[in-house]
């Protein structure tokens, strides 16, 4: 558990996709109740968990997130009646796909946090942050992006040959 003021070698970036009616209000409650939680988490507010497309999670990882949290209303509490039920199925399938492609699922957390559960929000965020901190940075997607540039090394026979030919 991190205590305020502790210095760490690695501060993970956590992106949290939250629903405006429950989890956002829950996080707000945690703030107004002056509870402490890691500042690593960046909140993105959505109308409903049903609005959160799996592609957002992918994009977050691509843009450098080390962990992603998706959080919304408890089942049955959805402001739009059934948005979180649909989201639950979609994410159940999506995490299986990510796992199959080779993403470590410990970096991806789903939770239900209601507007009254400021304490649970703190708990979820702290646990995810500490877990991702132990795992270190998420390098897979970053390395993919880096591979888009040629390293400048003549690391294959073909390249070496082509290089030799242009020398006069």
């Amino acid at each position: 558990m991190s205590t305020p003021g502790t210095k760490h070698d690695f501060e993970p970036k956590i992106i949290a996709f939250v629903c405006t009616w429950c989890t956002y209000a829950g996080a707000d409650l945690a703030g107004t109740s002056r509870m402490q939680y890691p500042a690593n988490v960046r909140l993105l507010k959505f109308p409903c968990t049903g609005r959160i497309d799996p592609i957002f999670i992918l994009k977050a990882f691509q843009q450098g997130a080390d962990g992603v949290l998706v959080s919304g209303c408890h089942p049955g509490d959805c402001h739009y009646i059934a948005g979180n039920f649909h989201a639950r199925r979609r994410f159940a399938a999506f995490r299986k796909l990510l796992e199959f492609v080779g993403v470590d699922l410990n970096r991806l957390q789903f939770s239900w946090v209601s507007a009254a559960e400021g304490g649970k929000w703190v708990e979820v965020v702290t646990e995810l942050t500490e877990r991702v901190r132990c795992m270190g940075p998420m390098l897979e997607f970053k390395e993919l992006a880096l591979e888009e540039q040629w390293s400048g090394k003549l690391d294959s026979l073909e390249l070496q040959e082509a290089y030799n030919q242009i020398q006069v």
């Binding site: 639950r88 796909l97 080779g102 591979e147």
Partner: protein
């Protein structure tokens, strides 16, 4: 150990398709029949639309008739009511795609006249179309086929397909092999596979279920998936593609056949089908349903992964 597969029924199937096509075209049941015809290379076949009963004897069915004709019905779906009822030659796997499309209100059963094909299997690749069908050249999807005799068609030739050869199920065993790996090994495997992708979108064009008028992946404001064939964009495209087909893909494996870079695309689709079967007890393509597994829910769905 290569064993030939008995395709002798295809002669009888061809005859039956021709007779039936001529009959329904001349009595006005349908205005056109989509089927297969011989192409220029020996043994090869190509899709054809016959609208004249006199041309019905152009239709054939051989082991090289690999295309899923359902794709032509989706891209042309707006014309179908205008041009009347359409006859389609369907294999069991193509029928499953059609059933899925009917569930998604893309097609109406009344607009179609289905000519089912009792199928003994088709070739995995048509690069050498004159190859004899054997246990090596058969398409992997045929080894996992459960519908050699299409059900619910308007006409099926009275021929019994030979029993499926007892062979290793390639997709199932490959999925099991990948599942046994560590995440890092799987990532390395897919990274290598996806790095081959040239973003030609053949997989999208050939897929009966990719019928969106504007694909999310073509939009650039905001750009969710990079359009250039670079590693990060390739990975995103294939993940998005698999996710959008989850619970819909009927397993015709056309994506894999059309892929010029031999990326095992159907492997992702089969994996998602397997997971959806386990999670929601759903298999696509067997009955016309109003909602697929990801468009509906029950209150008792598994949420063990949610805190």
């Amino acid at each position: 150990m290569t064993q030939p597969i008995d395709t002798s029924i295809y002669t009888a199937v061809t005859d039956a398709i021709r007779t039936e096509a001529a009959r329904i075209l001349s009595d006005g049941t349908v205005t056109a029949v989509a089927g297969y015809a011989a192409a220029r290379r020996k043994g090869s076949s190509q899709p054809i639309v016959v609208s004249d009963a006199g041309n019905a004897d152009k239709l054939i069915f051989t082991a090289a008739c690999v295309n899923n004709l359902a794709v032509y019905l989706t891209k042309a779906k707006k014309d179908i009511p205008k041009s009347g009822r359409i006859g389609v030659v369907v294999k069991g796997c193509d029928l499953r795609a059609l059933v899925g499309l009917m569930g998604e209100s893309q097609l109406k059963r009344d607009d179609l006249y289905l000519i089912g094909v009792p199928c003994a299997g088709v070739l995995g690749s048509t690069i050498q179309p004159a190859t004899e069908l054997n246990t090596d050249t058969i398409a992997p999807k045929c080894l996992e086929c459960v519908e050699r005799l299409p059900v619910g068609c308007d006409f099926v030739p009275a021929v019994t397909p030979p029993p499926a050869p007892e062979l290793e199920k390639k997709y199932a065993s490959e999925i099991a092999r990948l599942e046994a790996m560590t995440p890092a090994e799987r990532w390395a495997y897919w990274k290598e596979q996806f790095s081959k992708c040239i973003k030609c979108y053949a997989c999208r064009q050939v897929c009966p279920f990719c019928f969106c008028e504007q694909c999310l992946c073509d939009r650039n404001r905001p750009q969710m998936v990079e359009t250039t064939p670079r590693p990060a964009g390739n990975m995103a495209w294939h993940i998005v593609r698999a996710m959008h087909l989850a619970g819909r893909c009927a397993g015709c494996a056309e994506c894999e056949r059309a892929c010029p870079m031999d990326i095992p695309l159907n492997l992702l689709n089969r994996k998602m089908a397997k997971e959806l079967k386990e999670l929601f007890d759903y298999e696509s393509g067997f009955e016309v349903l109003e909602c697929g597994p990801l468009a509906t829910f029950t209150e008792k769905d598994d949420q063990s992964f949610i805190k």
